[in-house]
Each structure stands twice: as structure tokens, then as C-alpha cells.
Symmetry: D2
Subunit: 335 residues, 4 copies
């Protein structure tokens, strides 16, 4: 049993705390949040104790590893503290909203053998992973095109958007990581268009975008398209399509069950998709913990590394330059 | 938290013990099995203690209720003992393979207010339940026909078949219950045909059947068809279709994920279905416990009652008479 | 080019006349109807001439074969006349509503080598045929169960029902034929339940039924279920399921196109099915003509023979006895 | 009946000749091809006569309109001749491979009221049209994104590729037109990446590409993505997705029938898609003729105009500049 402390008890921290509690290979000794009441609530529900500080957590003898689910600006600091304390770390994405801070953190922890995993949960989705495995098994021959459809069910509240760092760093970052995972090589060119089509007034006030299309290309010529929307009213839409020389694979959306209704007015009606990431990626979040436990137990590079977190952010930066300057951007311009 | 003891630590008992351990409303204080080693293994894995006997379980102050997952011939005895001890009981199907023992048990516990629930888990499947709810909500008007497809993925081992009591009492009993649940009224007539089409030699030795079709009708005229096979090589096949005057609903099979492959040789290929009942009805087994906890906490008749267990067995007996005598059987002939 | 005359210019005759006109292997020299205006309308539209009588048609030098689409009571007479005239005949189902007349017709034409084909179009549906071919190719091993779902989109008008001869002779007759085709052997036992669930008042006045379930078994033990409804409000519902020892095949419904809509209120919505037999079985009706042309050109038994028409009617009669006497009926009791 | 002559008796001309012959509103009086034998073959099959020259066709009193299906370099010449002769014209795409010739033709026929329709058949596909109509009916609110997947089943022969004018002018031109139709407004910016991923050697010899991704944006900000491949081994892949503020619609691929097979080794297998454009767009080609007949009978602008043909070519030219110069191209740079 790997004893994992959770730092940050907001929505995603609560989910991780519950997952760690019921995962057969992990237990939850302690939680921490700057809001002590939030920490106490989670601790009570999950049978854990509350720590007084991050230092307190890292000094605890019954803590084998930490999961960072606190506010984004704390991520890099906590990673550094955890690595210093020798505690393997699973940190929610993004590492930081600024590439400079990511680079500094990278240098700071360079040389350490403490595993640092970034929370790109979608790689662990059974369908997405099976799609990637089909490529690795040669089932579609050479990979020619990757198409990622990624749309959230509704616009987050203004407060969330103000702190989120922008669509591409907050939401598309998952898709940049998934693109790299599916491509199996680095994109070298990025082109993006974006707009404020859903809520132009709010987006205007925030200098933000809500709808985007991206095209990337790798050195070997493989093409990748991502399309994003902040508001798919019909449900959280998460699809992968991999086109190859001898076949094609798709990983599609999940419904809560397989009931279909047929009537005179509407033909065949299927259930709406699972609402959002906690419901859609339930199995992925559990498998992510499993992968982290492997890294903790075996040491070495985790399946999703700090470098993966950094590369996804670099692609987001490249896409922002493309949008701003209305041109194709070489990833090498960024880093 | 309702503290539920598990009697019987075989395959289904192990599953229930794990479910009780991770269900947010229940805990597992103790387990029992006639094979002490089997009980010890489950107890160790789930953090419970081992009881020396059923009496020991029922006398324990930290046991609020019991789940009976032991061999079928013990079910009725344990139900009686648990009711005598005032412990609410969730008993795996069937109550007994013989109707006489069921009737005796029924008389023995008559008048008691201790909840006794029978483990017809399929009623709790989200898709099946949504289908039934669509009928109750009037979405398909008057119900005219119920079609239940129920096929196991492979023939059980000979030892299992020897003790199982026959296809209709072991496997179809679930479908008889589901038929009653979906119909919302009692079938009054039963006709069945059956054969040994999968393994005629083994079936001949066991005087058993492996493939069946049943037609039933209720007093109001609603029609119901069940088809069964012991070996659907393509996977556990569990479908419900409800045909009504203003619409139709279906509850279909679940796949582990939504990957589809497309190639020159095979067109579009979807994943196989979830293998068997533990995988297919995961959510249903958890919801069943939830329903049982409601019955324990609120008292009164559980959602799936002893009488439901008895009525399903009566339909199985009627179907056996139909097969033997090659005729339509009135349910009133049986009980 | 086979020159085919059409007898009967009602709905189905009009469809056949148009099909013969555009089929690459046939032409339409002449049409006939007791209602001369109806015949004239079709003749005008299709560029054919109008015959004064059936005798006139059969005496025409430019008529190689006839298609009988007139009222059911005329079928057997016209078959006999056409066979006497040496004209290969494609006759719409049923041969007659009474088995005695069918038997008389059978004796009358016995010994003739003039091809007589019965219009069981569904055998020619590409999906149904592919399903049967999968069985013949061994793709599902031994056939164990056949399930046929066959539901019309709406109740026909009273006048139609008064002349139709009853649900089983009018509508289910197609399913009896399809069952024999799919089974590849004769059913020997028939059990049926039926009711007036859709329009009890009208059905009561007509002594008719609108909803039925049938179970049949062949000598080798293969099981078959048919379920029928006169009113599937969600569309013409025509499905075949073939369950075997090593696999299963289904032939499903067709939609006019593959648009799907997704919205907040209804999840995923597919198009309604093609409305009724003329739309659903367009390709089947053309392939039926093709098969008839083969029989005309090569001589010998057509793919769907007079005997096929007779056997389907015998199954309908057996099912009526089963409904009336509430018992399992041996097909040998009928003929 | 509109009497339509066909110029050009290759693969697509043969299909059009047959369609005109069986369309209820048209007839085929005469065909022409520079290869007299090819013309004679079609004429024989369809019951038409052979013309000695295009001039001969245009001078014929029994020709109401012409369909141009000859080699691409003849299109603009024949359009001009037909317009001069006052014959409404349906011309296969593209008008010409060079924009200069298109512009010259445009000026030449400017001011004429003779209808000139371009053969962008996909607009007439029932599913694609229903998707567009759903947008027009407000079913998905404001249109935000259009995604077009368009992949041919196999690489055409070298000879075809040498004359085709390049992937974007030959194949993607359909998608550019469909994009404009679905968007309901003009793209103003085009970005494209392309490569030789399927057959790099042959593509290198021909200076050609076989795989492409395009992103476009309209003045109002609506985004559009097209992805193309010359070789989808799993079948002709033609999908449209329209994402809006209140919903999403998709128009998908068609299969020849709805058989599905289930087995131990492969789960659920559906039929391959219809092979190629003649099979996939059968209904669309017939509806295209219907629309052309409307234009002939009512006069005025056809549903798919000369200008539509010109605008699609302009988008192809813009995309070529984007590929060559690796930059975002303003459509206004081209024309």
C-alpha cells in the first residue's frame, strides 16, 4: 500500500482523495488545504487526518507520496518541496501557467530521481489507450492523421476563467498532451485559429477565447487536428480518431447506460453522454493512480513525466503565438 | 453505516464482500464460510474478522444485517435463522431449488417485519431500470410486449451444473424476475420449449437443457418472450425490449470502452461485450446494496421481496411442466 | 429482356409495374385491372398498353411472363390460367386465404414445368440474405435460435382488414416464410399467443388480433420466435437475429440517411426508419424480379416456390389452431 | 420531360446517362464522345443515338439541355458553346484546372440567362442536406464549427493523377464547395498542410500530395476543418459535423445493409461502407438531376452555380499557396 497525501481539497482534490481511499493499492493518511475547513471535510469523509501545512505533510513518516491538487500557482513550489523531501509526486496539470516558472522548476529538480508525474488523466482512458495500443500493435499501419475532438459541456464561471490561464493552457493542454501521446513523436509546427463565439461579451472582457481549431505537423509529416469548444450543450464530447495506412481507429464517448427510446416524434434516441470529466474519466483517474503507484514502487520515469507537462505547455504557447500573429509557428521558436 | 456480514465466501460472496467494503453506506465487520480458509482470505483482503459459525455472526453486536451468498441448499435455513435473530437479510437467488422448501420458509417467517431481500440484481441495472422507468413515465403508452434476451458467455463446469438445479431455476430465474418487474403484473400462462443444442452429450448425462425459448402472458394480455442460451461465444448478452402503444425502449449491452476499428478486411469492429455478470452488472450490484440499506434503515418491504423470489421460482416450475408435457401451463396450476 | 405483364394495378401492382419498367432485364408490355381506369393510369405512366382481360394478357405474343398483384381471391385462378397458358408467374402472397383452395391449385398445376414464384420479397433483402449466407458459410456454426421482429408502422384501414384474412395470413405469413428460409428446415411444432392490444374495439368487431408472439421448433430442435405488432409508431420494424454455436448475426432496420442530431434535451437522435415495405424493401423487390427472370430464363423451380407459399400458409393455420385451442400444435395436424 | 444530351461517355458520363434514362423527369436523346465506340456503347445500352460532334448535339431540336462529363480541359469550351446555343448546362466539376480559364469563361457567359450548374453532387446527399437544413431550421443555434472528413478508398491510377490537376483541385474541391454550403458564408482565410504519406515515391515523381488538413475561417469567425486522404482502406469515408451553440449534427457514412456479425474473435462487426462515390452518392446524383430540371424549367440561377464552381477553385488555389509558402492565406489574395 502506497500512502498518498493530498494537497488541495477543491473539486479535483476531493475526487482524488476518494479515489486514493478506495484504490486497492493506496491509502490516504492525510490531506491539506489552505482552507482548513475544506481539508477537515474531506478528512472526515475519507477517514484521514488534516495536516497543518505542506511542510507538515512532507515531514510525516506515514506519507509515501503526494498528490498536488491545489491552485495552479502553487504547483511548481509544491513539486520542488516534495522533490526536496524525497516524496514522489503526482501533480495536476498544468505545472504552471508560465513557461518561465516551468523551466525554473525543471532546472531545480534536474538530477533528482524522485518521480514526478503530471495529471494528464486522458492517456489512461481505456478507450483512448486501446486506440493508441492498436497503433503500436500495427493494426492501422503507419499513422497519417490524428483528429482530437474535445469540447466541454458548459462555460465555467467567470471566476474560474479569470484564473485558468486561457483556453489553451487550461483545457487544450490535455489535447496537446493527448496529441503527443497518440502521435508518438513531437509536433514541430503549430497553426491555430480561435474566437469568442459562445459568449463574445464575457470573452471580450476577459480577453479570452472559447472556440478553437488547431493543426500541427510532426517532423515525419504526420498531421494532427484538434477542435475545441467550451460549450457542447449535448454533453462532454471527447473523441479520438487515428487514421493510418491500413486502417483507422476511433475512441468515442461513453453514455451512462445503453437505453434507447423509439417514438413517433423522434426516431431513435440514445442517452446523453456522461456529463463531465469526473464521470467520463472515472476509470482513467483510477488507472492514473495505478500508474503512479508503479512509478513510486519501481522508481524511474513515470508514464507521464514532468517533461510531458512542459512540452504540452510549449505547444499551447506556440498556438497562442499563431493566433496572435496569424501565422504558422515552429515549436522551436518557443523552446 | 450499516454493518453487513457476509455468509459464504465463494465467487459471488467475494464480490459482495468487496462491494460492501467500498460502498459509502456500508461496512463489512465479519465474514463466514464453511471453508475457514476461504473466509480468512476474504477477511484478510477486506479488513474483516472471521466468524466461527452462522450463529456467531448472528449473535455479534456489530452486525446490523446479513448477506447470504452461501450454497443454495443453505439459503432458506440461513434466512430463517437471520429473521429469528432480527437481522435484515439480503439473500442471493434462488431461495431454494424446491418450491416446497420455499413455501415452508415463507410460512416460517410470515408475520415477521424483518426485511428479507432477494438478490435479483438485474432490476438495479441503470439501463434496465431506465427502461422500466420510461414505461412508468408513460413514454411508450400501454405496454404490449416484453422481449428478454439472456445468454451466458459459456457453459459452466459440470460440477456447477450438477448443483445448479437446472437452467430455468439457475439462470432463467433472473429473467422470470425481470419479466415480472418489466410487465408490472403477474404472468398467468407459460409456454416453453427447450433443448440440448450446445452440448447434447453432457446435457444428456445431466438430464439438462442449454437453450430455451419461453412465452408468457399476463391476465391483461401483455405478451412476454424470453430467450436463453448457455453459450453466447460473442459475450454475455443481456437485452431488454419493451414495446408499447406509443413507443419502444431497449436496454442493451455494455462494452468496456468505445473504441472501434476499421480495416479493409472487416469494416467496422466494436469491442466485445463485458464478459460476465460481475463486470456487466457492477453498478447493479452496488445499487442493490443501496436499496437493501434503505430497507434496513426504513424497515418495511424491500424493493425485491421474498415473494418476488417465490414467484420467479413458480414461473420456472410452470415452464418445466410446459417443457415436459409440451403444453401451455397456467401459473395457477403450480401455486 | 423478359416482357412481364402486370395483373392488378393497386398499390403493390403499381410498384411492381414501375420496377419492371426500370429493371434492366425486364420490360412492361401490358397491364390489366378490373378497374379499367386504374389500369389506364399505370399504363400511361409506364408506357404500357391496357389489356381488356386476363385472357387477353395471356394470349398476347409480347408477354413472356405475368406478375399477379390483383386481389387475393383471384390469385389461385390466375395462377392456374397462367400455367395453362405456359406463362411463368410471379404471384404476390398469399396464394389464397384458404388452404383448401391452395391444395386444389397445387394439384391443378402439378406436373407443369411452368415456373410459379410466390412474392416473399423479404428473402431478397440484402441484409436478411447476407445473414442467411453467413449461416450457410458456417460463420455462426450450428443454428440454435432464430428471432424475427416484424411490426408494421400503423393499423391498416378497416376495409383492408376485413379482406386481409387475419393477421397471421396477411402479415405474419411473411415471417413464417422468412423463418423457414432462415431455419433451413421445416418447423414441426407451433405455439402462438395473440391479442387485441392496439385497438380492442375494432379487433372485437372484426374478430381479429393485432399483436402476437409465436414459438416454433424444427425436428432437429432449432428454436424460432416471431413477434408481431400492427402498430410500431416509431416505424416499420423488421429485424432478424440468428444465434448459433459460434456466433450471432443480426439484420437490422434501415434509415433514409445517416444524420444524427445532438442536443441538450435529447442526447443523440437518429432518423426514423424507412416508413413501410415499399421504402424498406426497395432493393428486395428489384432482386425478387431478378430472381424471377432467372427462373423464366433457366426454367426449373424458382427460388421461392408455390410450395413455399403453401408451407407458410400451413404454419399460419397451425398458429391459429394454437391460439384458438391454447395448445402446442404439430404442423402435421394441418397438412 | 427534359431531354438531356450527355457529352463524354467515360465512367461518370456513363453513370449520368443511365441516371438521365431512368429519372422520371428526364430522357436521354443523344450522347457524344470523342471516342465514337465509347459513345456507341452507351447509346446502345440506354437507347439513345450517337452525335457526330458537340455542334451536332447543340443543333439538335430534341435536346433541351446538356450534361458535360467529358475531360476537364473541354469543360469551359463546352460551357461556352452550350450557353451560346441557349442550352442549359450541367457541367461536372471542376470548370477548369486553371483559374484564368475559369475567369475568362465567366466573362464570356456573363449576362446570359442560360442556367449553368456545376456538378457538386454532395450537396444533394440526403444526409448532408438534412444536416444543412437542421442548421437553417435553427436546431443547433449559431454555427461555430464545420468538420469535413473526406477520404477516398484508394489511390487512383497514375494516369488519372497526372491529368487530375492535384489533390486539392480534383478531390478537395468537393469539400471546399461543401464547406461553403454548410458554412452559409465565404471563408476569408485558408491554412493548409499536406504531405505524401501514402505513396511518397509516386507522389514525388508527380510532385503531388495524398494527405491533407485544412483550416478555414469566415468573416464572422466560423471555423472549418477539412481532412483528406487518398486511401482509406476501410472504405470511402464521407462525414460532416456541424457544431453549434445549441446542438450538433452529423451526417455519416452509409453501409450497403444493416447486417452485423458477433463472434468470439471480433466482438461486433458491421459491414464496410459503400465503396465509392457512385455507390455512396446514388441518391445525390439523382437529386442533382432533379435540381437541374428545376433550373431548366423555371430558369434563373441553379442551386449550384458557375460562381460556386469558381469559388471552390479559388479556395483550392489559396490552399496551395498556404502549403507552398507555409502561411495563412487571405482568400482575397487569390481573387
Amino acid at each position: 500500500m502506497v500512502r498518498i497525501a493530498v494537497l488541495g481539497c477543491g473539486r479535483i482534490g476531493q475526487m482524488h482523495a476518494a479515489n486514493i481511499g478506495r484504490h486497492p493499492r493506496t491509502s490516504l493518511p492525510v490531506v491539506y488545504d489552505i482552507d482548513a475547513a475544506a481539508a477537515a471535510a474531506v478528512a472526515g469523509r475519507e477517514g484521514a487526518r488534516v495536516a497543518a501545512s505542506v511542510e507538515d505533510v512532507l515531514a510525516s513518516a506515514d506519507v509515501d507520496a503526494v498528490l498536488i491538487a491545489s491552485a495552479t500557482p502553487t504547483h511548481a513550489d509544491y513539486i520542488e518541496m516534495a522533490v526536496d523531501a524525497g516524496k514522489p509526486t503526482l501533480c495536476e496539470k498544468p505545472i504552471d501557467l508560465g513557461l518561465a516558472r516551468v523551466e525554473a522548476c525543471r532546472e531545480r529538480i534536474a538530477g533528482s530521481s524522485v518521480p514526478v508525474q503530471i495529471g494528464f488523466n486522458r492517456r489512461f482512458d481505456p478507450g483512448h489507450r486501446a486506440a493508441r495500443n492498436a497503433v503500436l500493435a500495427g493494426e492501422i499501419g503507419d499513422l497519417h492523421q490524428v483528429i482530437i475532438t474535445s469540447r466541454d459541456p458548459e462555460l465555467p464561471p467567470r471566476g474560474y476563467l479569470e484564473a485558468a490561464g486561457g483556453l489553451l493552457r487550461d483545457m487544450t493542454i490535455h489535447d496537446f498532451d493527448l496529441a503527443r501521446y497518440m502521435l508518438g513523436e513531437e509536433p514541430v509546427e503549430v497553426f491555430a485559429v480561435a474566437g469568442a463565439l459562445i459568449d463574445p461579451v464575457l470573452m471580450g472582457e476577459l480577453d479570452e477565447i472559447d472556440t478553437a481549431m488547431i493543426v500541427m505537423r510532426t517532423a515525419s509529416g504526420t498531421q494532427c487536428h484538434i477542435n475545441n469548444s467550451r460549450t457542447a450543450v449535448y454533453g462532454y464530447d471527447q473523441r479520438i480518431e487515428l487514421m493510418g495506412s491500413t486502417g483507422m481507429v476511433q475512441s468515442g464517448n461513453r453514455k451512462p447506460h445503453e437505453m434507447r427510446c423509439y417514438s413517433a416524434k423522434s426516431g431513435e434516441v440514445a442517452e446523453p453522454y456522461l456529463y463531465f470529466f469526473i464521470e467520463r474519466y472515472t476509470e482513467a483517474f483510477m488507472a492514473e493512480i495505478d500508474s503512479f503507484v508503479d512509478a513510486v514502487e519501481k522508481g524511474g520515469e513515470p508514464e507521464v513525466s514532468f517533461e510531458d507537462g512542459r512540452r504540452a505547455l510549449i505547444l499551447a504557447e506556440a498556438a497562442y503565438v499563431s493566433i496572435r500573429e496569424k501565422r504558422l509557428v515552429q515549436v522551436s521558436e518557443i523552446a
